[in-house]
Subunit: 87 residues, 2 copies
């Protein structure tokens, strides 16, 4: 079994209200940052897992996203899989 890390990004879909994003935009403006058009805030998740090969790790990660990590009604997700060197 080889070791992998899946880096998942979950973000609210464009049509969904994102109050956290609005709050961060306000905060950045208050700090003097200008030229910011839009901010979206979501989650990032790193999953360290063992799996036979990259394809199997990606299949498992996709299932984790659909079943637990993302609410696919209102959120979209992307992930990448990288091999972890043995310690």
């Amino acid at each position: 079994m080889r070791r992998w890390v899946g880096r998942v990004i979950v973000l609210p879909k464009p049509s969904v209200n994102d109050p956290q994003g609005l709050a961060v935009l306000d905060g950045l403006s208050s700090l003097g940052f200008s030229g910011i058009e839009r901010v979206r805030v979501g989650r990032s998740v790193e999953v360290y897992l063992s799996s036979e090969d990259e394809q199997e790790a990606a299949r498992e990660l996709d299932e984790m996203c659909r079943r637990l990590l993302a609410n696919t009604l209102i959120e979209s997700y992307t992930f990448e899989v990288c091999e972890e060197p043995d310690e």
Copy 2:
């Protein structure tokens, strides 16, 4: 001015307790996923901004991370900057 999107990932530093990560690990195990060693949960932030060039956009994003988006005592951040095509 050109338009950019900064994709920021904020994660708890390895030495910091991550109760959300433990909860997600428990949840995944309950759903029957095996072979998971560790999970870390943080935030992802997309910032759409205007800036003269990529270097300036990256400089602004780094300052946003240090001043608002990440708590650098307990969190680490990474980001990438991509140019947004004009609509």
